[in-house]
Amino acid sequence: MTTPIGFGSLPLPPELATLRAPTPGPALPTLPTELGGAAVPAPGRVEGPSFEGRVHDFLRNVNDLDGRAHTAADGYMRGTHDDVHGTLIAMQEADISLRFATNVRNRVIEAYREVMRMGA
């Protein structure tokens, strides 16, 4: 009853500081293992990596890919290499992963709004 609602360790705005998470309900059925279900903990029983941790890891990965694309483009423009397709592929990978990140972010925000609309 005392778990503060928040996005991992991010501080909540003061007007939301009084919000508290409800006690966890019964465990949800887990996803099949090939979909990574085993690693997803049941609510209230955080054992494996947290959602926050996953988001951090994922964003770090997106950032790495973006960094690789930047380094490749920079190197190409400086003339340190002439790997045209490697550069463009690195940029495509960064583009796809950023689109994915944006998509995930949009859905998380949408879910949050959905919860906020409840009872309205």
Binding site: H85, G86, I89, I96, R99, N103
Partner: protein
């Protein structure tokens, strides 16, 4: 990346593009030296060919946990090998590299063969680019699920 996915498909395609780029360089070398009669090792220029080798994706892309990755391969170019077949002897006594009988050994480069290889390499590269575009299209349509 622990299973085969869009990114691994891109890496595999990229390895093919890189391999074709090596081929493009050997073709450029062969065509540029189609009439070169002097080399550092002596004798005429010998044409070169890249050797392509399949490398299992499981050992290169960190997708070893995916059972399908065992039969999926990247391509790499372990070496560029010299073609040692002798070149044609051309009678040209005024040539500086002619032997006492007046014959010059020319490079074993056939411009026609090299042009055919060049067309093949160009098409293979284009196929790789199409592959890349398809992977990108598939990834982007996957991202549109539910929106």
């Amino acid at each position: 990346m622990t299973t085969l996915g869009f990114m691994s498909a891109m890496e595999i395609t990229a390895s093919g593009l890189t391999a074709e780029r090596v081929r493009m360089n050997t073709l450029a070398s062969n065509l540029a030296n189609a009439r070169t009669t002097r080399t550092e090792e002596g004798g005429p220029y010998r044409r070169t060919d890249p050797v392509f080798r399949a490398v299992a994706a499981s050992e290169r892309l960190g997708v070893g946990s995916d059972p399908h990755a065992r039969n999926v391969f990247l391509v790499e170019v372990p070496e560029v090998r010299q073609d040692t077949t002798p070149g044609p002897l051309v009678y040209d006594p005024s040539h500086p590299d002619a032997n006492p009988e007046g014959y010059v050994e020319m490079p074993n480069v056939s411009v026609v063969t090299e042009m055919v290889n060049l067309v093949t390499a160009t098409r293979a590269y284009e196929a790789g680019i199409s592959m890349m575009d398809s992977v990108k299209t598939m990834a982007r349509s996957a991202l549109s699920i539910g929106s």
